[in-house]
């Protein structure tokens, strides 16, 4: 019975490790692809503005605000991590 219990314990630890790795990998991938997603969203955003007759430079300037939202959220997240320390 002792051996079975130890084996179950080891398997559970191994399973926990896999789940944790999966979680961290998923979060890392999300963070890495965030910049690319924001660029695509910003291009689509600017395209709509230009369609309605706005100058390209003006559309780019307003699009920069949209991308700044991502930076604000990242900074807020980093600040909250620093605040915990």
């Amino acid at each position: 019975m002792g051996k079975t219990s130890s084996l179950r314990f080891i398997l559970s630890i191994f399973g926990s490790g896999i789940a944790l790795t999966k979680l961290l990998a998923s979060l890392l991938l999300t963070w890495l692809t965030l910049g690319w997603k924001v660029r695509k969203a910003r291009k689509a955003f600017e395209k709509q503005l230009i369609k309605q007759g706005m100058a390209k430079d003006d559309a780019k300037r307003i699009g920069a605000q949209y991308a700044a939202l991502k930076d604000n959220i990242e900074n807020a997240f980093k600040q909250s991590l620093r605040a915990r320390k």
Binding site: R8, G15, T30, V38, K47, Q52, R61, L69, S80
Partner: protein, 130 residues
């Protein structure tokens, strides 16, 4: 009608519980974060926000407003969304939140309670399936 004494969990049982919790969290948390990001930073979200800003700009132009004024007002309109980021910054600052500290703690406790209930529910569902 006697109550059974609480069975002390073995290390193996506790490890199994931790594995199940981590398993549920590793599935739910990334999906939640992806859906939150997708709601704001996907191509479709950008397109929709662009359409809204463009419609605002067009209305201003159609009403006879000069181009530079219309652009400035559209910039302010889009700025409403980015100011949400500033609010989040304030919430992140310790002790200087938009939400007062006591209320913030209460909200934190409530969120913790809801998350624990959800995890317990998921574990029960998994056990029933097994």
């Amino acid at each position: 009608m006697s109550e059974e004494p609480k069975k002390k969990k073995t290390a193996a049982e506790e490890a199994e519980e931790v594995r199940q919790i981590l398993g549920a969290v590793s599935t739910e948390v990334p999906a939640l974060i992806k859906s939150l990001i997708g709601a704001v930073f996907s191509e479709e979200a950008g397109r929709n926000m662009g359409r809204a800003a463009a419609a605002f700009y067009k209305e201003l132009k159609d009403s006879g407003m000069p181009d530079d004024v219309a652009v400035k007002m559209t910039e302010n309109y889009v700025g409403v969304f980015t100011s949400l980021g500033d609010i989040l910054k304030q919430v992140g600052k310790k002790g200087k939140g938009v939400i007062p500290t006591e209320e913030g703690k209460e909200i934190g406790t409530k969120i913790e309670k809801v998350v624990k209930e959800k995890i317990a529910e998921k574990l029960r569902e998994k056990e029933e399936q097994e």
